[in-house]
Symmetry: C2
Subunit: 349 residues, 2 copies
Amino acid sequence: MESGEQVHELRGRTPRVTAAMVAARAGVSTATVSLVANGKTQGRVSEDNISRVREAIAELGYVVDSIGSSLAKGISSIVILVAPDISNPFFANVIAGVRGALGAEYQLLLSVTDAGEFPRVDDVRRLLALRPAGLLVDAPSAEFLEDLSVAGPLVLLDAPGLESFAPSVNLDVGHGARLLARHLADAGHKQAAYVDSVTGTATFDIRRAAFLEESAALGITVATDHVIGTTIDVGAAAGAFAAAWPGWQRDGVTAVVCATDTHAYGVLQEARVAGVRIPQELAVAGFDDLPYSATSNPGLTSVHLPGDALGAKAGEQLRRVMEGKGLEQPQLILQGSLMVRGSTEAAST
Amino acid sequence: MESGEQVHELRGRTPRVTAAMVAARAGVSTATVSLVANGKTQGRVSEDNISRVREAIAELGYVVDSIGSSLAKGISSIVILVAPDISNPFFANVIAGVRGALGAEYQLLLSVTDAGEFPRVDDVRRLLALRPAGLLVDAPSAEFLEDLSVAGPLVLLDAPGLESFAPSVNLDVGHGARLLARHLADAGHKQAAYVDSVTGTATFDIRRAAFLEESAALGITVATDHVIGTTIDVGAAAGAFAAAWPGWQRDGVTAVVCATDTHAYGVLQEARVAGVRIPQELAVAGFDDLPYSATSNPGLTSVHLPGDALGAKAGEQLRRVMEGKGLEQPQLILQGSLMVRGSTEAAST
DNA sequence: CTGAAAGCGCTTACAG
DNA sequence: CTGAAAGCGCTTACAG
């Protein structure tokens, strides 16, 4: 096809196809082209012109220029997701959920920072110059939100205690922690230890506090010096456990709960090296239910947190706000569930 | 609809600071403001006006509007990274590398697709409407690149065999595969098996072909029916290995190489279940050197691929192209290295 | 060194 | 239903 060739040439070079070119070809004004391209023809454009313009658009391969459109509308179609740790496997699910909920109209822009670092407000302000249609902020600090003072649509994810700043979607990690305590109590454990994360995000405080509280209520003792903390790193957790285990063993600890599965992998690894039998001698559990937890040996008992749903709900809420619809429920909480595996429960015969 | 009102309120509260406002305050024209804001004052603006404008910018908190700027310049400051699988832990390093190399002037926009799916050309065309300053494409197909026919700066990552389309940064996975074959030959293995990835990306063909060729040259036999393939999934690999192992064992296979560490995790797991001693009875190795490979038990021997460097180099090259500088070396190849761990080598006494 | 002006591509009241 | 025109915020020749 000759016209196809032409289009290819045009694209390959640079001659951007503009609304003016479409208008010329269809014999209408650019206003009409805009109306058709945006599907706002309802009672404003004749059927005849609609098909004329559609044809021209197809022939020329016209795509509305985001820049021009954004400037005219005062807003872009970009949604920015600000997060401290996109390299976390858990976060991949969150992103997938957001992407699905936003649909094709919005472009998702990930604000990428160095692992574990939260973006500085300055960085985000630069992103705001893109005039995003909306903002999604994952696991922020109160300070960050105060400094930010965003004007447009904003939804928070995994930001417990910060509900006053904006609509949020949170994970009820406390519930998961309590399920875990109950599971261990049912198995007869009396002395447990806890390996915390030292990053200081609110979710970790809640995980620990809820577990300690429920444990106490169920008759499991977690002595103060049986609570240790490391960064979210297999090696670091392994080292800390190696140092702590002799004391714990002497004190009769038979179960250890870790703030993340990554910590738990370190414990499992070191336990094997030290010849500690899992779960007979020591039960091990974590949070997050990372992909490898289901298939490790033994499988790791873990509090499953629905990352996919977290992202999807946040995306849906944001979308509603961006479309000017109200939110019936500005605050959403998603439940975790307990995945019981071999690390806390010997295989039944 | 409390939150709806909240948003509305916020929207009205923040007036956008424009160059015109800065100009008025500083007593200059917007042209001068633009020059100062973009650091193009060299011999064009008096010291006096420079400081005047700087002051006004600081006082008003002016940030150049990306949209207006992009439209005027015909190009935005966005760099789009198109990739099939951002949820791959390996890819997190690539992203970090890119981010570091691009610096603060460019915003990195990840084109997120469903896991394993490559974006359709249509999706990318919509992204092109953002007038990106440059494009980074990871592991594309030739077909995709043909359809794309991008005009602007473009650098490919991990796209072996597609060097004719654009400057690229590739990983020499063949080299890693040969190192692996040599390592196994040195350990005296005579019969090996291969667990391939069935996704059909070029890198996997190269991994397999190079390993098979070097193995043959070094006296290791890999029978045709000792090559199997699964998706990149621990469970799938475990199942396939379980089915294949009895035959392999009968045929005297003492080593199995997997196209990815993820496949290898499945093999390790199933081997434990089946009571196969690693590495005494069966040596296991993979590619990618994922984070858990260093700390699993036994540690997994793996071909380390420098994801960080891959991203960094690609970012650097793209940057050079975007800045109009030529590339001395349009084609870059990064070496992998072999990480030998317990899965192929019994701990020395 | 400086500012008035054109223009980037689009959308949207507005007048017909 | 339709098009001319203003305007979004900025950058860049251009003329002084």
